[in-house]
Symmetry: D2
Subunit: 324 residues, 4 copies
Amino acid sequence: MILRLAHVVMAADDLDAAHAFYVDLLGFVEHRREPGALYLRGVEEFDTWSLCIVDRGAPGLLHSAFRVSDPADLDTLAAQHERLGLPHTRVAAGAEPGQGEALRVVSPDGHALEFVHELEQIDAYDADGRLRFPMRHSHTGHGIPPTRLDHVSLRVPRVADSLPYWLDELTFSASELWLDEHDEPHIAWVRRAPASHDVALGTNGEAAFHHVAYLVSDPSALLRAADLLGDARLASRLEWGPGRHGATNAFAMYVRDPAGNRLELYTGDYVRDHDHPPLCWRPADYAEQGHSWWGFPAPPSFAQTNPLHQAGWVPATVPASGQG
Amino acid sequence: MILRLAHVVMAADDLDAAHAFYVDLLGFVEHRREPGALYLRGVEEFDTWSLCIVDRGAPGLLHSAFRVSDPADLDTLAAQHERLGLPHTRVAAGAEPGQGEALRVVSPDGHALEFVHELEQIDAYDADGRLRFPMRHSHTGHGIPPTRLDHVSLRVPRVADSLPYWLDELTFSASELWLDEHDEPHIAWVRRAPASHDVALGTNGEAAFHHVAYLVSDPSALLRAADLLGDARLASRLEWGPGRHGATNAFAMYVRDPAGNRLELYTGDYVRDHDHPPLCWRPADYAEQGHSWWGFPAPPSFAQTNPLHQAGWVPATVPASGQG
Amino acid sequence: MILRLAHVVMAADDLDAAHAFYVDLLGFVEHRREPGALYLRGVEEFDTWSLCIVDRGAPGLLHSAFRVSDPADLDTLAAQHERLGLPHTRVAAGAEPGQGEALRVVSPDGHALEFVHELEQIDAYDADGRLRFPMRHSHTGHGIPPTRLDHVSLRVPRVADSLPYWLDELTFSASELWLDEHDEPHIAWVRRAPASHDVALGTNGEAAFHHVAYLVSDPSALLRAADLLGDARLASRLEWGPGRHGATNAFAMYVRDPAGNRLELYTGDYVRDHDHPPLCWRPADYAEQGHSWWGFPAPPSFAQTNPLHQAGWVPATVPASGQG
Amino acid sequence: MILRLAHVVMAADDLDAAHAFYVDLLGFVEHRREPGALYLRGVEEFDTWSLCIVDRGAPGLLHSAFRVSDPADLDTLAAQHERLGLPHTRVAAGAEPGQGEALRVVSPDGHALEFVHELEQIDAYDADGRLRFPMRHSHTGHGIPPTRLDHVSLRVPRVADSLPYWLDELTFSASELWLDEHDEPHIAWVRRAPASHDVALGTNGEAAFHHVAYLVSDPSALLRAADLLGDARLASRLEWGPGRHGATNAFAMYVRDPAGNRLELYTGDYVRDHDHPPLCWRPADYAEQGHSWWGFPAPPSFAQTNPLHQAGWVPATVPASGQG
């Protein structure tokens, strides 16, 4: 079964600028840098990395990966995608650093997804055998810092068309839905982990990337993040917030990275069991306090998305449904 | 499968005093009060209650309940306890308010446990059909307030003897272990939910109740809780903290309620997948910074426990193992 | 000598609505209510009141009062205003509740100002003689709550024309100035207390009232205030913020009260001795990060001001300069 | 007149260790280091330094300095100390870095005090002429960091004997007094600035040094400071707190530096005018919640003081009273 969002791979145009922003300014932990790719994590993560930034000359999303609870789940998921006629392929262990065998698929709504079980873990012990929590190094740290990957926000052609795949096939649970005047959902927050979402889906006419979100420890950390950007004379990168969301109830802020990717810093959403019906917002409700519980409209730039970079994700020779 | 801790039922000697403390001072939400019992929840909970306080003339614990993901899990768990020769009984829906059919057992380490699937949910919509998050009523609230039930801390005869039941039978995962000089665990943090623990188990020579813990929204809420107690001239009820734990990494505070039960207010532990080995503390490590990352020893009173009130939990006629 | 801003008297159209907003929602302490007037204070104030709201059928400002260190300062100030040819009059003790004899003047920039020494103090002891800090009643309180009056923001015909009165005559010190392209100040932050300002002066073409500001204890209190407004479905009253100011370095939020008066909630400005030259902002600096260190422009409504209600402040028969 | 505490000069046994602690760990700003002396400030200070640590092979206090509002105040204070028969001497500008002419005295209770008007200020503008608040460099900073010097805590032979000098001669105002069973004050909080104190005086039988206190921005900064010490495995240096004081109402924490000096980190005391009578605590009140509003007794080590290093402060040839 799918446990949670495990990592996101984003595109950028300048890895030095990405390093300066994510590591030097915000305090992401650098796990590894190799030519063309930067592997990062938040300070409370036990996986060695959760964000990879690769040089593609432009912003955007390559893929989102989810951890499954058992290696055999990859077989089940492969058979399922075969049945659904969706492109899929297996990649051997090591295709990404510290990662075991994985299954790569393209979702019906056009997104590159990966499923994996084995993820390299940080060494939680010092050289002298003493337990070291990753988050307990503030004396050598700086920045906010972000604690862990929370969710990815994807744009899809039509959310109502996407939900059967996410809910019925992948067994995600919708925590919240925004319904239009015809009661059709156009934004859905879906999750396998118990918090409000691992993935947000928004109707956009086409598949695109909206943002990746990292948790921070508490609201005061988010205010320090805004100050950090202001102090570094990067206030123009602060797109929206800090403020309280209506949907998810989180306290959050959106920032643009040097490449133009949108990073959300996020804290304080709720936890709710999976088998309860989604909380549904009606147009009058979300118009007023849905995006911002404090009533501030999103800036026009918030509608902008970044492209997908999925070329070669699943080999062209992978048979489509019925041809396997 | 077991999802999470769902509720705790505690004993008290004075329900009016309990109401004054939990509801009027700390801001727990009162779901229901009936003769001899008070049903409460935190402000971010969707279940209608998570803490029941019953009049027994003394502090202590009656039982801890866990939610299972499917009603059929009750059958599986009943068969499992039958196989283990452990006392167990089914109770019909409604035995506790808003609750479906449940299975009651006594664990090998002497604790009354309950498993249940169906739990009444709060109405998340207003009379006018508008979505209302439970936590978004600060304008009519007061107190800290606590957000949701986090964990229960149980004392057992010997943790090493308890772990096979919790880990192998109930499939909890140990997030952390404190090992003695012989590498035997004497405190274990175990969980079904992804955070650090649903249950803490500590070696005590006999089964007893140490504390129940509720989450608060962030560290500033916990400081307000300490001020609240000081302002109400109840500083003597503040037993330990606020401070950072070593184990679990949470920021926490222990308070004694009017009956003498210990309530922990808690925020900020980590999330970690279940299938990784527990983080193990050695004596030199926890002696220094295990209980308090800031180095403050627990007060002597912290070793005190409260008794169990389990009479009649499972009828005496329930057959023990081999007699079913 | 002038010590600090002591109180502000504002106009409103509905004292019940003002009570519901300031007392019931935000947590201001009600000192006294009498027909047509409501007397309030923050929870850390030792003066019995610092904000008076009077029924005038509309929002606006009646006067701002400053405390002087010695009763004899009133004579000095009266002589000074006589010399300057400015309207001034003495009012007997008790003209405002708990207040000693006062001097009322009209400033050259058209504002009603009051100077007073004697201000009734709260009783800091309980009936049993135990010391009670006013701020240590959180167990019976609610709301943010605001701690104390910080400053008043006045609009004047031309700041450059106002400064000789405020700086040379009243011996305020300018902490910061915003200079236009001709190096002429158009906003000035001036103070007698050591923090960034007791009074803000902004060029507006005519005398008007912009806002009154109260301190809150820390940034987390300000976030709770925003949530409080959102939860009460009053998000539309949240005009700007929460955010970091460039000028003053404070973390702040502007709210409109039911009458339309603008209330700033404010925390974290700096302290600086009076005899140092003002910190001067150039147009390029404040355009970018002056109002908002995080780069968010003020909403258009922020330029709106409220009128002055000064009729009868100083009797028409008070002789102007040279006629005394 | 005396404006405020301006700087404190402390002794240490190892300036490298002091640098590692104050600058590298806690985030004090290093203004200057010269052989045998380290000059530091908090991040919101406009004076170039407020803490000097000098190598004396042991912890302790050299002197405390106060800023006066006018250079001529030095003459007044010199005449006053001459009249009182107290040792005093003038030192030329530059005796301490960036400092104008000063007056050095020994108080009747045995403390080396300095009065000075001219203090070098930081350059608040960048090379490009843009205004730069000192606190707005979080992107290049680390540590808590402390914001500014708040107070110094001195032990004196008998507080009741000290008060006439501090209150009547130096015109400090007592904000709070702890009275013994005979109504004699044994701790006094006295100030020239409007907050709760610039100087704390405690009866000790002899003159000694208890602690120096720096402000932090808010309670969350103080919690980060405690984490910082824990993470650096310096929890043993955290002597008491974080917690709410009864006296002063501040949220505070006491830390021992590598030399053994006691540093208080402090935030949130109140502001009150000088001419009101002190708030008086009776034994039953401060026994319960005076030191700690949350009821935690001070550890035994908190009674320890550090010595004075005043040799040569005022030349031996300075005439005592009656010999001038």
